[in-house]
Symmetry: none
DNA sequence: TATGAATGAGAGTTCATTCAT
DNA sequence: GATGAATGAACTCTCATTCAT
């Protein structure tokens, strides 16, 4: 790994934290530079623009996310096990890319209108195909309830998982796997005592 | 109601839509003015600042929300019925104040650092007390599962409901009450077929 | 003429003077604003960008120039009289648009690469067609010498006239018509005593 | 000649081309470095500043120009022959220093205000003395027309020659001497058929 | 009530220049 | 001799805000 690659990665991590904390628009390049211990102009030695930093952060995250998801999907598990694996993988990604996930959550809708970020809309679609498809297959094999609106269920599961990035702090008392386990328990079996 | 009050309300509705669509920082006063069919400077006849528009939007929404919640809580229902009523009331608020809720979701964390928006942090606390308290009482009376981390459950229920504002469109095929019913069904009983 | 049109014209005149004096790239928006007695940002109420000011200056000048030239050409004079009329008209344009002409002289070559300023290349071509055509017709009717390279002659006449914008100062001791007369005398008959 | 001297000359030639092509202000040090196949910072091993490159280019050109002019003047020819020799020498300089001449033409007026480039103003003066003096002596001996404004004639001859640098390309179909011959023919005898 | 024009602070970005390696 | 990384000043441009009309 060349030194410049390392430096870029460091700076992107800093930028991602600031973007996640303050929002993309509300973040100034000077704030990122301050956090990185350099001057605003110096960032432009490494990056073309503020937007390109955002781009690298998001696309880098999505690349890793799909790698994880693809590994899960290739295992070709039963629907319920697939959902469990996807949720667990998602929490692992939140653990590793918390800032990027938070940014994605907050900004992707607006961004996807921008041609440069069209891949966010594509990701959204692939996302839906993956999760919704698994849920529907689960309904077909009687693993999941048939009396629920499928798209509503999809949104419920999806949001429920990803919103966690807004409060999750890596290194907290629960590991990603433990949080995934409890979330799955709630999502699959509900929070009510079953009578 | 004075005419100026009406005009303010109209303008606030316009502003809320733009804020919700683009994010508060990314929204320019000119965009709001364009949407309202006037010039940017003219907005300052009605409002002190961009920030004060945001303030009115959010505090107006929270006032109505608490009115609804207080009515629910005064009914002094059993924990599970209380949760059901709170969730239903929440979806009604999303239906009536979609834009405000979306803004609240996206911006409240950063804004609450600002003294002017300290009430957002207070609301957050009161929120937590209300929901977490109800969940804990529910656990005590064996209405809700005791094997889950209470704060995790709280976040799960809270997020699950409010994130809906990001995709909900008033006048869609499901009424707020119908969405609430399905969400409650998922949250309480899970999406898995119970064996 | 609406007041905004008047103001724009004033500001463009100021900008043209500064551009002509310092060169387009070397001119800062602040210098223009200073010369206009306002702040740099205020210029953006009237113009989209520094480049758009340049654009208006140049295209405005060219529009008037072609109007003048077309009037000359429509008179359908003999070649020598046409050249005389074109030269005279050119000096009148230099008198009225000194700054714009100076800018055109200095910047048009680089600018014409820019798509926005493609009309400069087009003007250059129409220019050449007009002058070179007239010169060639003049050669055909034995008004102009046949022993000279036509393109060289064209450049000679063209440059000779337009470079004057770099030293010409309106309101000097010679009127544009007087300068034109002397220039024509040199260009047509030479500076040597004819033996 | 030390290797560093050679390298400097190469780099100056590159810089001159870029300056001539884009204009001094519009040229970035990085563009010069790119054209020279090195990084921007590396140029500073060879030169103090962008300005010093310009300085060397212009003063180098002027030194050679004066050497040529002085040789002409020392020959002590008749006025008309002197003018012919100066024009021919000028086209030879354009041939050898095309870029420098183009830069001189475009930038010298603004630069001469700068103390560092005061020699440009001095050159301008010496220039005028040389040419205008020769023209006046020519008028005195009835070689040149007496009915023309002398300064106007001076500017006419001067501009006529130097502007050629803006379109001249070394290695074209006409040699500098041939171009000089035709220019002289036009300047001295005019483009009209003498009756 | 609204407009047109301006302000002034600050944003993103560029760029000549420096310097340790 | 050249590189990679950084500096710092200045630049173009944006935008919330003001105010006379």
């Amino acid at each position: 790994m060349s030194p410049s690659t390392t430096r870029r990665a460091e700076l992107l991590a800093v930028a991602a934290d600031v973007f996640a904390e303050q929002g993309y628009s509300a973040t100034t390049v000077r704030q990122i530079a301050d956090a990185a211990g350099m001057l605003a102009g110096s960032l432009y030695y490494h990056f073309d623009s503020k937007e390109s930093m955002l781009d690298e952060i998001l696309s880098g995250f999505l690349d890793e996310l799909w790698a994880g998801y693809d590994a899960v999907l290739e295992a070709d598990l039963a629907p319920r096990a697939t959902i469990e694996a996807l949720v667990t993988e998602s929490f692992r990604e939140i653990d590793r890319h918390r800032a990027a996930v938070a940014i994605y959550q907050k900004e992707s809708r607006q961004l996807s209108a921008h041609p440069r970020f069209a891949y966010l809309a594509a990701a959204q679609e692939k996302f839906e195909k993956t999760w919704l498809g698994t849920l529907e297959r689960g309904v077909a094999v009687h693993a999941f309830r048939a009396d629920l609106d499928a798209r509503l269920t999809y949104r419920f599961v999806r949001d429920t998982v990803w919103v966690a990035a807004s409060w999750y702090r890596p290194g907290g008392q629960h590991s990603p796997e433990e949080i995934a386990r409890q979330y799955l328990s709630m999502v699959l079996d509900g929070i009510a005592v079953q009578t």
